[in-house]
């Protein structure tokens, strides 16, 4: 922890020496945006959110949203490396407590509740917003920790647009990205293709095995393909139509544990996945009235296989698990701005979910089929009676399978203390419900159809500010929060020998989220950007009479931090990124002896890129990257090795 503080302080001090210079600005670069504005929109009253803009999303072709969120937000990503299951925890909650949408389509599996962020390429997202805590109710229901809202945007330039990126990296890793667009005043089309693959067999010293042999990461190759097609049409009467379809085909090995002494040929597991996410939407404005309707369909097929050799060439599948999930939805929303001081909003959403899950392996023939219908209504009023004061209130109500949930209320307040320095105090309180997943209810064996929804009550208090001058700007935000979640669903062993979920515990999550950014333009062609994020997350069992009261939940780091420096000079850019996570317990007793603890670690990455232009029309960019610069030996998930120093080069062509 001392090292972390020293590094952060030295970074800030060094920046302080430099920011006082004045110079004309010809070149600017975008650092990660923090929403701080004295005149921010009514929609954002009391909202605690962080935005990752396109600059951040386009840094690295090989990065999924898992890497982007880990570096640029306080969201904790639990992952065992690239192209492995990567789940998000916001403010110390469970992965299923993070609501995730892409262009309005819920990405959370109705079967498992969580989202694998490694399956979302950052190049398939143009805008990303993380709503923290109580403010997630503005975006979705069920996000007890928060919500991640991902969107794609229409290409604004007229005519043909083209972008191709080729990336090559260590361990036979390659990524190819192509985007072709065509846009007229009446319609536009955009096609994106991504092909990624790797052997991912990085070498590492295996400190978990007797004798500490040097080994390679095993059975961890992957091959992913994504296609995204979008059409946008502008109607004669001012309406805008969009149709979007995203298809994914993925085949990934499941890496072996560091303590697995078996040859690759003896046992092997992998997962194939195909998904289709499609949505059609319409928007139109009538003065201050904005209308939006959308309908979509989401299909996901996951096939997990565990296979072993019985000798003599005979191969058998020990697990052959297949799951189909479907989600059909339709939604309509209206937003009415009355002058600059009042905004009313309402929306209605109907959804149907279906799951068919089965294991067809001869040893464990289990499975279930289930469906669920939902209707969600949402009302919101936002009022700014004074220049320095805004207040907003939400009501959300849901119907599920024949019964109404209690109304979900939320309230938000903004108080502007200084317009000059953008100092705003914001606060919110909300109640939220998260319903059991279909696996929780119906999985065989163990599903519990009598589960109650998890209930969260969240309080936020934040302060933010910004100083902006012609050549430099400085911004920051800090939030304290507390969240009490009751009826927390845990899978626990039963007397029957299998595990079953129950509303077992209560959890109190509290902490601090802080972030700062700065930008300084020097000379006529230079820019320095700096950003830093820090989170203190106390997420402890609070069950009355429970055995673990006061203990941190497994895998939630008490401290996490990240920082980034970007230096731009003429056509050159240099990036330095750093991430830190404190020690994590993997059980409720992890600290009592070593082998259930994931030690603290910090990772540094650097990148150097050079842009070029051909006839002011075609732009090229070459980027060299060194990941895990200092060769940190670490694990993020117990017994799952992570790569040491590795290298990547990418070339981009764009017009």
């Amino acid at each position: 922890m001392k090292r972390l503080i020293i590094i952060l302080l030295s970074s800030v001090l060094h920046f302080g020496v430099l920011w006082g210079q004045n110079a004309d600005t010809l070149r600017t670069i975008e650092v990660e945006e923090i929403v701080v504005s004295a005149a921010r929109s009514l929609r954002d009253i009391g909202v605690q959110k962080s935005i990752m803009n396109e600059t951040v999303l386009r840094e690295n072709l090989a990065a999924s949203m898992a890497e982007v969120l880990a570096q640029n937000s306080t969201v904790f990503i639990k992952s065992s490396g690239r192209a492995t299951l990567s789940t998000a925890s916001i403010r110390g909650t469970a992965p299923s407590h993070t609501s995730v949408s892409w262009n309005g389509i819920e990405l959370g599996s109705p079967m498992l509740g969580m989202v694998d962020f490694s399956m979302i390429p950052s190049y398939f997202v143009d805008g990303s917003e993380v709503y923290h805590g109580a403010t997630s109710v503005n975006a979705a229901s069920g996000g007890l920790g928060g919500a991640v809202v991902l969107t794609t945007n229409e290409e604004q330039r007229q005519g043909i647009s083209f972008q191709f990126v080729q990336s090559l990296a260590s361990f036979s890793t390659h990524d190819e990205y192509l985007r072709i667009g065509y846009s007229t005043p009446k319609w536009s089309s955009s096609t994106r293709l991504l092909n990624s693959g790797s052997r991912n067999d990085f070498p590492y010293t295996n400190y978990d095995k007797v004798g500490h042999p040097v080994e390679r990461n095993r059975n961890c190759g992957y091959h992913d393909q994504h296609i995204l097609q979008e059409f946008f049409v502008r109607g004669a009467r001012g309406g805008k139509w969009a149709i979007k379809g995203w298809f994914t085909n993925s085949s990934r090995g499941i890496p072996k544990l560091s303590v697995d002494y078996r040859d690759d040929g003896l046992t092997k597991s992998w997962q194939d996945e195909q998904s289709l996410r499609s949505v059609a939407e319409w928007r139109r404005s009538f003065g201050g009235l904005r209308l939006h309707s959308a309908a979509g369909y989401n299909l996901n097929y996951i096939h997990y296989i565990y296979q072993f050799s019985k000798g003599g060439g005979e191969v058998q599948r020990g697990v052959d698990s297949q799951s189909f999930t479907q989600h059909l939805f339709a939604t309509s929303a209206a937003e009415w701005s009355i002058g600059n001081t009042l905004m009313l909003a309402a929306n209605l959403k109907a959804s149907v979910y279906g799951v068919e899950s089965r294991d067809v392996a001869p040893l464990t023939p289990v499975g279930y089929e289930a469906a669920r219908g939902e209707l969600t209504s949402f009302l919101s009023a936002r009022w700014k009676p004074l220049e320095w004061f805004g207040v907003a209130g939400n009501l959300r109500e849901e119907w599920r399978d024949g019964s109404w949930s209690p109304i979900v209320p939320a309230m938000f307040i903004d108080v502007t203390l200084s317009e000059r320095y953008g100092i705003i105090i914001s606060s919110s309180v909300a109640k939220n419900y998260h319903h059991p997943t279909l696996n929780d209810l119906y999985f065989v064996p163990g599903g519990n159809p009598h589960l109650k929804p998890e209930v969260g009550t969240t309080y936020d208090l934040g302060i933010e500010g910004r100083v902006k001058r012609p050549t430099w700007q400085l911004g920051g935000k800090a939030t304290i929060y507390r969240s009490d979640i009751t009826n927390w669903i845990l899978w626990a062993p039963t007397v029957k020998g299998f595990w079953s979920p129950a509303n077992l515990s209560s959890v109190r999550s509290s902490g601090v989220e802080a972030r700062a950014n700065a930008e300084w333009n020097f000379g006529r062609e230079g820019t320095i950007g700096l950003n830093a994020i820090f989170a203190y997350t106390s997420s402890v069992d609070n069950s009355a009479g429970g055995a673990h009261v006061g203990q941190q939940l497994p895998y939630i780091p008490l401290y996490s931090a990240s920082a980034g420096v970007r230096v731009g000079w003429r056509k050159w850019d240099f990036d330095y990124k750093w991430r830190y996570y404190s020690e994590r317990n993997t059980t409720y007793s992890g600290a009592s002896f070593g082998n259930s603890v994931v030690p603290a670690y910090q990772i540094s990455d650097i990148a150097l890129s050079r842009g070029m232009e051909l006839k002011n029309k075609v732009r090229f960019k070459v980027r060299l990257e060194v990941l895990n610069l200092f060769g940190e030996v670490y694990q993020s998930v117990l017994s799952k090795p992570m790569p040491s120093r590795s290298y990547a080069i990418s070339v981009e062509c764009k017009f």
Binding site: V17, L257, D260, R262, P493, G497, N595, L638
Partner: protein, 358 residues
């Protein structure tokens, strides 16, 4: 520009200083192996897929507990799913199922002396009386691995006929009885002189655990299977049952049938004299092997349902119960005397399940 490069160099230097120590590498300290003279080894399974199994040692006289003795002696993890222990002479054989490995550990120092790796799904160990030959049972395959316990060299294998896999093994004289637990209902008999299968007979569904008593009878508990068992054609799920088998004639007796849906929380254990059988089935039961009469009252009444293992100290008859509690935190061992009075309790690792007594 000077200031720019000053910033970069100072920042980079500070980060190098902070980043060049791979802090997660094991730090060598005073690692002199600690001797484990007389006491009880406790194997904790750990969580499946997490690689956090552990081996503990309990001094039965001083009641001192030593944590993770494998890690301390070998600077390595034990592995994923600690399955079983077998103490022979001064060598402790540790079977780690989902790591596919069997360690031969010096039972005094905890140091690994030999390894058999690349095993599909090792479950249990049996050592022939000659001490020159050992057997490793395996799930998912009908092959039993034969090895030399002195060198840990694999010397052969037995391919079982008529059964799909092998679980617990019990050697009586020249015969080894092998339970085919997973989706099975048979016991295979091996002649350990020839390593040939000489007999197969049926008992209840899914013979889960076996021990031999002082009269060379084989006691078998069958869990009866469950709704998702993929049982052979013609075999259906049934109530759990306790069997006694004559090891000479192979005559079988179903001595007790348990309530439908009931669950065995421990395997069978037998005392040092071989005349009392113990197991956990809602409570700790003790069965006289001579009469074979199932008692009307349990020996020890227990609370909760985390009890995950039971064994009997052959040196003094003490009963050791492994309590896995909620499976998400460290477990506890409860030590009772042979009359059922609590002697001691101590904390161990995640999911304790097996014991070995020295």
């Amino acid at each position: 520009m000077k200031k720019l490069f000053g910033l970069i160099s100072i920042l980079t230097a500070s980060l190098i200083l902070g980043g060049c120590n791979p802090s997660n590498e094991p730090q060598n300290g005073d690692e002199t192996p600690v001797p484990y003279e007389e006491g009880v080894f406790v194997l904790c399974e750990g969580t499946y897929g997490a690689g956090n199994a552990s081996l503990w040692f309990y001094d039965r006289d001083t009641k001192e507990v030593k944590a993770d003795i494998f890690g301390a002696a070998n600077e390595a993890k034990l592995g994923d799913v600690g399955q079983s222990l077998y103490l022979h002479n001064n060598t402790l054989f540790v079977v780690v199922n989902n790591s596919g490995v069997v360690y031969a550990v010096d039972a005094t120092t905890g140091v690994v002396e030999g390894i058999i790796d690349n095993l599909l799904s090792p479950r249990f160990i049996a050592i022939a009386p000659s001490a020159t030959k050992g057997y490793i049972s395996q799930m998912y395959t009908n092959k039993i691995v034969i090895f030399d316990p002195r060198t840990m060299a694999v010397t052969g294998e037995i391919t079982l006929e008529g059964v799909a896999d092998s679980e617990q093994m019990v050697i009586v004289g020249d015969k080894m009885f092998v339970a085919a637990w997973s989706n099975g209902h048979k016991i295979a008999v091996i002649d350990i002189n020839t390593d040939k299968q000489i007999k197969t007979f049926e008992v209840g569904v899914q013979p889960y655990s076996m021990v031999a008593d002082k009269d060379d009878n084989i006691w078998i508990v069958c869990d009866g299977g469950n709704e998702w068992s993929s049982l052979p054609e013609g075999v259906t799920m049934e109530q759990p049952s306790l069997w006694r088998v004559n090891s000479e004639t192979y005559a079988t007796e179903r001595l007790h049938t348990f309530a439908a849906g009931s669950y065995f929380r421990s395997r069978l254990a037998i005392n040092g004299d071989g005349d009392t059988l113990y197991f956990i089935h809602d409570a700790v039961w003790a069965v006289d092997t001579t009469s074979g009469v199932f008692p009307t009252e349990p020996l020890i009444t227990i609370e909760g349902f985390g009890q995950y293992g039971l064994d009997i100290d052959p040196f003094n008859g003490d009963i050791y119960i492994a309590d896995a509690k909620d499976y998400m935190s460290n477990g506890e061992v409860l030590r009772y005397n042979s009359s059922g009075a609590l002697v001691d309790t101590f904390e161990v690792g995640l999911l304790p399940s097996k014991f070995a007594f020295k």
